[in-house]
């Protein structure tokens, strides 16, 4: 989790990732940010994020992102 | 069920109060006079409001074709018949009917002449729904007068003072020749008069009959707006309605328009010279009816003589020619 927040802060600072639950709906992360994030995640956690997974629901908070990562690791 | 009843009642009360409010607000917005500055739209057509009661014997209704081709002052000069053109640009039948109703309030014309161009012109249901309530809630038409709101006129009742010297006629000096190609080419086909238009035509006719006026249909000459198809359907309409129909575009009633000189915009509208021909013909026709009085020696109508002098002066100024009166043969 800490590693994830580090990655997020590297991409877009000035956001309180611990508590923010509307990263997408609140317009904190842009589409290009998402691409950077996915590239990092795929490297870091050895997963593949398919296009279908890229929905606000999966990216709105650090917790949701972590959940998605865990799910993809299981596949 | 009880709740539904309550809601229906609420909705009804809301609507009733709303209509009451619009009615009350309307009193603020109706124009207090008919001058150009009072934003009574189409003020030349509304000049009749300031004429003395029952002083106008003929009413001309129609779109711009009418104010370009019929000159009431000249008819007065020739025969002493008083008339007025309630004609407005792009007039549609819903507006025509309103002018007719307004006119009957203080006038009792013996003849109503309806120009036929607008009989075949489309108007949308939108216009109908938008303009029909304007008659009862004038704020819907005159709402733009908030721009010239003044406290001083708030408690004034409308009083009309603007008399149009041309009696609704517009004088055009320009000449722009028309292309006569295909004008009034023979055909048996008929143009379509929509059912909505027909409904309004019936309303106009019954209003005239109720008030004891004769309705006459008139097609003024125009290469752009008139053709044989329209003539055929209008002729058929006139026959069904049992009214007289004069089409100056066909040889029977031709007034000898010279399309190289008598039009101001390539056959769309007539200019001063064309208007003279149409006016003299229609004057002769109206006079032949034998029911329209000659007011020329009546002191009460001396305003018309002043208007005539003014028009003569304007013609001289604008057209650089001397005004020539009609030659009356009979």
């Amino acid at each position: 989790m800490e590693r994830l927040i580090e990655i997020l802060e590297d991409i877009q600072p000035d956001v309180d990732y611990e508590n923010c639950t509307d990263l997408i709906d609140g317009h904190y992360l842009s589409s290009l940010d998402i691409i950077s994030l996915i590239a990092e995640l795929e490297d870091e956690y050895d997963i593949t994020v398919p296009a279908v997974e890229i929905v606000p629901d999966n990216f709105n908070s650090a917790e949701r992102i972590m959940k998605m990562i865990e799910r993809l690791q299981e596949d | 069920m009880k709740q539904a009843l309550k809601n229906t009642l609420k909705g009804t009360v809301f609507t009733v109060i709303l209509i009451g409010l619009l009615w009350a607000v309307s009193a603020v917005f109706i124009p207090r006079n008919n001058t150009k500055d009072d934003w009574k739209y189409d003020y030349t057509a509304n000049g009749f409001l300031a004429e003395s009661a029952n002083s106008l014997d003929v009413l001309f209704l129609g779109d711009s074709e009418v104010f370009a081709s019929i000159n009431p002052v000249r008819i007065y000069e020739s025969y002493g018949i008083t008339s007025y053109c309630c004609s407005t640009g792009k007039q549609r039948l819903w507006y025509t009917l309103e002018y007719l109703y307004d006119f009957y309030r203080e006038q009792s014309p013996k003849v109503v002449v309806l120009e036929t161009d607008l009989l075949l012109k489309y108007f949308s249901v939108d216009d109908l729904i938008l303009h029909a309530p304007e008659h009862y809630l004038p704020v819907l038409r005159y709402h733009d007068r908030w721009k010239k709101f003044s406290f001083s006129e708030l408690f004034k009742t409308p009083e009309y003072t603007y008399i149009d010297d041309y009696k609704g006629y517009h004088l055009y000096a320009d000449i722009d020749a028309a292309d006569e190609e295909g004008y009034m080419e023979e055909t048996d086909e008929r143009a379509y008069i929509s059912r909505m238009n027909r409904l309004y035509i019936d309303a106009i006719l019954s209003c005239c009959r109720r008030n004891g006026s004769e309705l006459i249909l008139l097609s003024t000459p125009s290469t752009k707006n008139w053709n044989m198809k329209k003539h055929n359907s209008t002729q058929q309409l006139a026959d069904t309605l049992g009214v007289e129909y004069i089409d100056m575009n066909v040889s029977e009633y031709s007034v000898g328009i010279d399309w190289s000189k008598d039009t101001k915009d390539k056959g769309d509208h007539l200019n001063y010279y064309g208007a003279i021909k149409v006016t003299d013909k229609i004057g002769e026709y109206l006079n032949a009816k034998g029911v329209l009085p000659d007011h020329r020696d009546d002191k009460a109508y001396s305003g018309w003589d002043n208007s005539l002098e003014k028009m003569k002066a304007d013609v001289k100024k604008k057209l650089k020619t001397e005004y020539s009166s009609a030659v009356i043969t009979s």
């Binding site: 590297d10 991409i11 600072p13 000035d14 317009h27 842009s30 589409s31 290009l32 998402i34 691409i35 950077s36 996915i38 590239a39 990092e40 795929e42 490297d43 593949t48 994020v49 398919p50 296009a51 279908v52 890229i54 929905v55 | 709740q3 539904a4 809601n7 809301f14 109060i17 709303l18 409010l21 619009l22 607000v25 917005f29 739209y41 489309y122 949308s124 249901v125 939108d126 109908l128 729904i129 938008l130 303009h131 304007e134 704020v139 819907l140 038409r141 005159y142 709402h143 733009d144 908030w146 721009k147 929509s194 059912r195 909505m196 409904l199």
Partner: protein
Amino acid sequence: MDLSFLLAGAGKTMTSFFSMTYLFLFLPFCLIVYAVTPKKAKRYVLLAESLLFFWLVSGALVAYLLISAVSILLLGLWLGKLQQKQKAAIKDLPKEEKKAVKQAFLRKQRALVFLGVFLHIGLLLVLKYTGFFLGNINSLLAAFNCPFEMYIPQFAMPIGISFFSLQALSYIIDVYHGLVKADKNYARLLLFMSFFPQIVEGPICRYGQTAEQLWNVGSIKYRNLTFGLQRILFGMMKKIVIADRLDPLVKKVFDEPNSFDGGVIILAAVCYTVQLYMDFSGSMDAVLGTAEIFGIKLPENFERPFFSKSVSEFWKRWHITLGAWFKDYIFFPVTSAKRMKNLTSSARKKLGNHFGPLVAGGIALFCVWWCNGLWHGAGWNFIFFGMYHFVLILSGNIITPASKTVLQKLHIKANSAGYKVFCMIRTTILVIIGELFFRANGIGSGMELFGRIFTDLSFRSFDQYLLPRLGVDAYDLAICAVTLMIVFAVSVVNEKGICIREVLEKSNIVVRWVVLYSLILFIVIFGAYSFGYIPVDPMYAQF
């Protein structure tokens, strides 16, 4: 009495949800018929009314819609069957073989999706862009002095084809991804495609968002009715008081790009952006309000876009459903493609974590904005409009690290109120420039106008003759400003998460009715309608 003539020719005006025909004839008629129908049949009444609407506006062209819905029904069912077969086939296979079989099935499914894309985009291309492409070829031929010229056919376009084609495609792709189940019911699919409030100007809905809602419609609730009507009323104020009032000014300046100096052009550009926003978002209020009366919640298309701090954010809050469509069906699929991912990982090694992903992202972004520009219309100015935003958004991302350093050096806090306001103003200016090219009659005219802002920046035209020349007066501009202030105040309240209609609901009836009467009288008195005004078609209905 036979009143059918009232509907004959009504379609001409009905594309506007603020037309009298729609508000006082069509909508009440629909609501009454809907209300008296038994619950189980309501969905079919809604469908019939939607088709009636389409037929009134576009006549026989309703066939396009019917056929389009048939095509996605068949493709969807076929995809569903393949997915079932796939499941059955891999059930008992060992893990290694599973993958190969899965791949084979995926290839087949993908072929079907491509068929769907080919059909819908193909049709859209032919109907909407033939003239543009052949026109360009003709000018190219003329440039090389070729003696022949291609014949340019004219097609009649059904209303809303740009919108419902995208809905059709999203359905097929969603079925392919397994996000929604293939629908066996033609009526339900057709209703999803044709629901009448959204057919003219969107919002572009997904099957998962509206299909079930529309199919399970219930009775009209009093609360929904009042909420819906209130929203329509608010939209009406935006459209009739502001947008329509500014129309003559905008039209005059954009039609005569050579006649005015820079100052007037800036005024017109600002007015156009205001007009477009008020027209489009006002129409959306009418659309969502109408849907709300039926108890349907459509996705929002606007989220106070002028509070955006960057152009990229702006496009997430302006015409949201279009942006989201491009993002979900072009941007992320392109960046998620295998080759793109390889590109990203190799670029990250060379360019670093920030710039690396921008290579693939840039390519995807280019595709999105090329499509976005063309979607709005067949014209070079629309393509330019798209490319303009592509450059702005990409460069915005490229300079992010640099601007962070600059901010730090200047000791400006990125989340301070002052800096946020600065960002909002900057974004608004960039958007206004983009919309200037969007509105211009062709790219040359747009360049002329934009150039004049710099080469001829003066205010010498601002004398007493200017406003009459532009077809407006000082009162018009004043009332627009006042009304904009009202809209702005409402936006601020909304931005704080307060719903005014809910507040009104809780307040007592006198307050509530006074507010509503005031709004209605405001529109009646200050609206630009009836005498002296020409009705203005809704701006997004032409796209």
